[in-house]
Symmetry: C2
Subunit: 180 residues, 2 copies
């Protein structure tokens, strides 16, 4: 069965659950027979954007490249999932404008919660000034104004509940095959 | 009907017919119901590799990026077609090693024929020294040693005949749906 491709664009601070929830969604989509490709921020920096740094300009170039790959994938029937911080609104909107079936997913969590949790120990380093250009600490993050889906990873929602919300959104738009 | 993805990797000098033949092949594949994406050298330089130049290092980075996109597309059932000069054998072989269904297509034509034809006027400029790092003139081209398909665009074959050879190769490998 043929399904339309689409792009799920996760955005949010480091530690807000982009990788966890996108991984869950990817698994659910595959179980429904979708072709799925997850473009994780780190993977993409290896293959597409080696050498780019974390200035606004370099971040924007990185996001445009991820966006272009999502565009190419989704017009070929693939569920493309981008899971990069993508802190700047303007370039996210630029990508949105290029991709017909675009779903922006805002992983919302207060900085205080993420810094407290600090799974990778990065917030501690950033707050101590040992890590520069860290989004949310000394680099800006511009939350989406009208994301299609907002997930709360501050404890109000489990990752499973976040994933279910996203699946429900896709079903409502008629982009998902029915559950087997 | 579901078909395996694959990558058709065209290589050859400027003017050797990569764009023409890849365009014909893309049209034939779409007519057979395949999903097809053509990654033209120039398109890719806009979206993935803006800022890269024509040193060996920059050319290799460009080819690795095209290769990665082909890999992602073809593992999702798409016929990915790369049509870039890709002058260096080592990086072509690196890409080949990463992509299971990889078909290298060598567009063979003697430099003298291409310079004489000179559709875009680039050979004249390169031979006059006005255009630097021009493959085949003052930059190397390393032909494939064992390409899956060799096409002759020196007049021995029409572009239609070249396209037919490539389709026949794909049929022989069982990667093509039967003609409607």
């Amino acid at each position: 069965m043929e399904h339309p491709g689409f792009t799920l664009w996760f955005t949010g601070l480091s530690g807000a659950g982009k990788s966890t929830v996108s991984g869950l969604v990817a698994a659910r989509l595959r179980a429904r027979g979708c072709k799925v490709e997850v473009l994780d921020g780190d993977v993409v920096r290896t293959h597409l954007s080696k050498g780019l740094g974390f200035s606004r300009e370099d971040r924007d170039i990185n996001i445009r490249r991820i966006g272009w790959v999502c565009e190419v994938l989704s017009r070929n029937g693939v569920a493309a999932i981008a899971a990069a911080i993508s802190p700047y609104r303007a370039v996210r909107d630029e990508v949105r404008a290029r991709i017909p079936n675009f779903v922006e997913i805002y992983m919302e969590a207060p900085l205080a919660v993420l810094a407290e949790r600090d799974v990778k120990g990065l917030y501690r380093q950033a707050l101590a000034g040992e890590l520069k250009n860290f989004t949310g600490v000394d680099d800006p993050y511009e939350p989406p104004l009208q994301p299609e889906v907002t997930c709360y990873s501050d404890g109000r929602e489990t990752p499973e509940q976040s994933a279910a919300k996203i699946l429900a959104h896709l079903e409502a738009r008629g982009w998902l095959p029915p559950a087997p």
